[in-house]
């Protein structure tokens, strides 16, 4: 804009210059004639000079000439034209004035001023008379109509149309305007001029009419003229006209020079103007260019602006898309968390399943043991012979290899018995029923403790002790067969143990047990590995192969527990069956307890109280229950019943049982009591807990929960809930306390209030997460808007428990996040629970009866699967009873539906069915380390807790 303004500003000067320049252009052309003029003038003036000389009556005053020539500079154009006219008219004037002395006239005429002559001529012309004419007396002339005169006559006669300059000219020639009354006769616009020598009839007087000489310039021309006139005076005045013409020429030349100068200067100025014009044009061009470039830039800017706008629009769109995506991602994350929880539950399910598989893989061995047991119980006859004659029995393996194995295991046993002092039958019985009689209580105590390999020997020892009195020699053979079997399994480790064992039976027993544990554990691992690859269903055959090792263990376990248990169980079944037959029902249950209570019973109790019993007191409960139910009735009652039960299969056993009980029972009591006494002390709370047990999930280990709340009422309520749920509670009243406690101790779960004084839950969680990434933190809050929930999650919280929470809500939350503490328990307990009826539920005795009858049906078939199936039946029944009671689904927290839970249970049951008993094996699973305080006294409980705690860190490491 600025440039534009400048440009327009330069316009006027430019145009004015131009105008001026165009005026100036002609002069250069005129210049040439002007330069030539002097020559022409000199050429033309020469003849007139001669002519002038010849004219006598011409007396032009040199002064007037000079003055006139000088005067002409003021009006060069007029001068030029006048001069030319004068020169051209010199001849005509001669002709006009040819009347008296023609030569004189000719001579005088040139002396007359052109202007005067033109004036005269104009007045003579009558065509102009209506505009301009002589005055009435002829001594003046009148311009009648100035306008018309200016318009038509002046241009024609004087080549201009300026009346004012005409009047000036008249004044110069000394005409005067006359103010007369006569004016009226020619109108207002008439002008009357008069000159003393200007008369219509006095043409000669015209010569006297000269230009007036200005006073200022008079001196110089007059002096020069004076000199000239002096010369002229001598030369008779004739050269005066020549002189004047020369002077005129000179003045004209000087004029021309001046003009040339002015032309030059004009030219130069024109040039400069042109150049400036050029530069200006250049400038304008550049301005135009810049303008156009600016316009282009502007266009560009517009374009970029447009594109930017588009980009912004696009960016906005993208942002919107991103926002949407962000929202989606958030939703996804929430879903993902849900999914993770489900996955967790699935994993737990799988673990359970695999463990079940492990149990199943155990099964074969158990099955073998069972079959072995079967051979001992149902087919006790062959066994008895075997005991009588070793060689034959050891060979008899007409059965499957498995049986063979078991047989071998059992057969050596029999010989081992024979050397003892006891009578053979009783020995045999003691062997076959050894499990039932003396060792039973202890092994059954042991199984729980077996889970803890460390503590294994504790319970084992007493057992060994109990066995000792019976037969010292029994120990050696006892230990030997295992060693054989182990050699069978190419277990070199055991050899030294065996040697040791030879010397120190106790040691051997212990070692063998320990090893057995390891073996079984390894086997379990193998099973774990195998089963996933081979598939779930194939465990029977493939696992069977693989189970060699385990079988060897199994044999071992036969010796210690497996066989005993199976025998016992079968016995139990048979006894229950017998009960239905004999109507000794009253006696029946006690024996059940007597036998099973130690092993299965207390497990059963746990199982039935999965979700009922307070885990904390599980030790007490179980032991207590066991003590309550079993001890009082143990005495002699169970044995007869058992005898009756066995009676169906083998009378020998019955007898043996009859005999044995008296022996083992004291031992068992002796052995058992020390451990059990712990439990006994807390029997009273047990009852209460049992009553309340309806809500309590069974924890393997009491979860340690940190409760953070500033509200005393909420805190109290929550802690009561937690207490009921069997958690160990620690309390913090604000965020600072929570962080400190988290720093000092480990917790399984943190329940965090959000709005608290000092430090709120969110910042506390942020702090905790800086050093503890694992512990689940659940926010308890009544502010559960989505945005707030996002804040909680982003601070590192794992879940949200909306504040006015219910018992169920809290329980779900606990189960969801403390599953690892529970699953272990479920894994260990749920299977164990199966097959064991509750103590005082008549429906269970019925169920048992049914199961027993079914077993009986299948018992004849040597197929281990079928027998195990039958044995599994009453677990199932037991389960159904359990379910019928409308218990909570312990897996609800894992996101499993009840149906699924039932299905899983069924799976477990069916898996369990292979083992029939399988419980003891389950203990040796290694995972069993976490089996809990319930099993092996308080000390172990603590140890276990530590284990479980470890387990918590890496949930899946347990199984390896």
């Amino acid at each position: 804009m600025h440039m534009d303004h400048h440009h327009t500003a330069t316009g006027p000067p430019y145009s004015s210059v131009r105008l001026f320049a165009s005026h100036q252009l002609p002069p250069p052309q005129v210049q040439l004639p002007a330069i030539n003029l002097p020559q022409r003038a000199s050429a033309t003036t020469l003849p007139p000079m001669a002519a002038m000389d010849s004219s006598p009556y011409r007396h032009p005053s040199p002064v007037s000439w000079g003055s006139s020539s000088i005067h002409r500079t003021s009006n060069s154009r007029d001068d030029i034209s006048q001069r030319e006219m004068r020169q051209m008219k010199r001849e005509p004037t001669h002709q006009i004035h040819s009347v008296p002395p023609l030569k004189e006239q000719e001579d005088t005429m040139p002396a007359t001023s052109d202007f005067v002559k033109k004036l005269y001529k104009m007045l003579e012309d009558h065509t102009f008379s209506h505009v301009v004419s002589w005055g009435p007396q002829g001594d003046c002339f009148v311009v009648k109509d100035m306008n018309e005169f200016t318009k038509s006559i002046l241009p024609r006669m004087f080549k201009h149309s300026n009346f004012a300059s005409f009047v000036r000219q008249l004044n110069k020639y000394d005409f005067h305007k006359v103010k007369t009354s006569d004016d009226a006769q020619f109108g207002e616009h008439s002008w009357t001029f008069r000159h003393p020598d200007f008369h219509a009839d006095r043409r000669d007087a015209l010569e006297n009419i000269k230009r007036k000489v200005p006073a200022a310039r008079k001196s110089i021309p007059s002096s020069s003229n004076g000199g000239l006139s002096g010369g002229r005076g001598t030369s008779s005045g004739s050269p005066v006209p020549g002189e004047t013409s020369n002077a005129e020429l000179a003045t004209v030349q000087s004029h021309i020079g001046v003009l040339q100068n002015s032309y030059q200067s004009l030219f130069s100025s024109h040039d400069t103007l042109l150049s400036s014009h050029e530069t200006l044009r250049g400038q304008t061009d550049s301005l135009l260019a810049s303008h156009s470039s600016l316009r282009a830039q502007n266009d560009n800017l517009f374009a970029t602006n447009e594109s930017l706008r588009n980009q912004v629009g696009r960016a906005e769109e993208r942002i919107r898309v991103l926002e949407r995506q962000y929202g989606d991602v958030l939703v996804e994350m929430v879903n993902f968390q849900k999914g993770m929880a489900q996955q967790d539950s699935l994993m737990q399910g799988l673990i359970q399943y695999f463990l079940g598989e492990g149990g199943k893989s155990k099964d074969p061995s158990d099955a073998t043991s069972q079959t072995a047991a079967g051979s001992s119980t149902t087919a006790s006859v062959p066994l008895a012979p075997s005991s009588v004659s070793q060689p034959t029995v050891s060979q008899p393996p007409v059965q499957t290899p498995i049986h063979n194995m078991s047989q071998t295991s059992t057969t050596p046993m029999a010989p081992s018995m024979t050397p003892s002092t006891h009578p053979p039958p009783s020995l045999l019985a003691s062997h076959s029923q050894r499990s039932m009689g003396q060792p039973q209580p202890s092994p059954f105590l042991a199984p729980p403790s077996n889970s803890i390999s460390n503590s294994f020997s504790h319970t084992r020892k007493p057992m060994a002790m109990s066995q000792q009195p019976q037969s010292a020699s029994l120990r050696n053979p006892y230990s030997l067969p295992p060693s054989h079997t182990h050699q069978f399994a190419a277990q070199e480790q055991f050899v030294p143990a065996q040697e040791l064992g030879l010397q120190d039976p106790d040691m051997v027993a212990r070692l063998s047990l320990v090893q057995m544990n390891e073996m079984s554990r390894r086997a379990a691992n193998d099973a774990e590995f195998r089963t996933p690859s081979s598939g779930s269903g194939t465990s029977g055959s493939t696992a069977g192969e693989e189970m060699h090792m385990q079988r060897t263990n199994g044999i071992h376990s036969h010796l210690h527990r497996g066989g005993q248990q199976q025998q016992q169980q079968q016995q139990q079944q048979s006894s229950t069956q017998a009960s239905t037959q004999d109507g000794n029902a009253t006696f029946l249950l006690p024996p059940d307890m007597n036998w099973d209570a130690p092993t299965t019973m207390h497990e059963g109790l746990q199982v039935f109280t999965v979700g009922h019993l307070l885990p904390r007191s599980s030790v007490e409960d179980q032991n207590g229950n066991w003590m309550f139910n079993a001890n009082p009735s143990t005495g002699a009652v169970p044995l007869p019943v058992e005898g009756e039960g066995d009676g169906e299969s083998a009378n020998d056993n019955d007898n043996d049982n009859d005999n044995l009980p008296s022996e083992p029972d004291p031992y068992s009591e002796e052995v058992v009591r020390p451990t059990l006494s712990n439990g006994r002390s807390s029997t009273t709370p047990t009852t209460i807990r049992v009553r309340r047990s309806t809500f309590v999930p069974g924890w393997a280990v009491p979860p340690r929960v940190l409760l953070v709340d500033d509200d005393a009422v909420s805190r109290r309520l929550s802690s009561k809930f937690l207490q009921v749920f069997g958690c160990m509670i620690d309390v913090a009243v604000d965020g600072v306390g929570a962080v400190n406690k988290m720093n000092l101790e480990k917790y399984d779960l943190v329940l965090m209030d959000i709005v608290m004084p000092k430090m709120d839950g969110v910042s506390a969680t942020n702090l905790i997460r800086q050093f503890d990434h694992m512990t689940p933190i659940i926010s308890m809050t009544s502010n559960s808007k989505p945005s707030e929930i996002m804040t909680y999650y982003s601070s590192g919280m794992n879940d949200i428990l909306p504040k006015p929470f219910t018992k169920e809500g809290l329980l779900d939350m606990l189960e969801k996040h403390l599953m690892h503490l529970k699953v272990i328990q479920q894994m260990s307990k749920v299977p164990r629970s199966l097959g064991v009826p509750p103590l005082s539920d008549p429906s269970f005795s019925e169920a048992l009866a049914v199961g027993a009858s079914q077993l009986q049906r299948h018992a004849s078939s040597s197929n281990p699967g079928s027998s195990s199936n039958s044995s599994s039946l009453h677990p199932m029944l037991g389960m159904s009873g359990y379910d019928d009671d409308g218990r909570i689904n312990p897996l609800a927290g894992m996101g499993l539906s009840d149906e699924r839970y039932a299905a899983i249970l069924r799976d477990i049951v069916t898996q369990e069915s292979f083992s029939g008993v399988g419980v003891p094996e389950g203990f040796s699973f290694g995972l069993a380390g976490a089996l809990g305080p319930g099993m092996g006294g308080e000390k172990r409980g603590l140890d276990d807790e530590g284990d479980a705690r470890e387990g918590k860190r890496g949930r899946f490491e347990i199984i390896e």
Partner: protein, 116 residues
Amino acid sequence: IDMEVFNQIVELDDGDSSFVSGMVTDYLAQVDSTFKKMDKAMETRDLKEISQLGHFLKGSSAALGVKQVSLTCEKIQNTAKGTPTEKNLEEVTSLLKCVKEEYGAAKIRLLEYCPT
């Protein structure tokens, strides 16, 4: 009073009513002290404090199933959260009055359930 919630607490009791009555006593004491704090905060026109106390009271009331008090406390919390205008202040004052009445009624009922 939301009996469902309250019954849950009652169920938790060991048989004697010590737990429930303890809870109720605690609650009553806590509410009383909170009301005192709220009155104090009202004097100093500390709406932020009132909001926090409202939240606090809301939580404990909800835990015990004292529904009305909890609801009103939530209102107090939200109203007091806003800018401390004269209008909000008035509203909180009236809500506070309201919640005290509700609490009075709830207190009687609570004490009916568990005489202490």
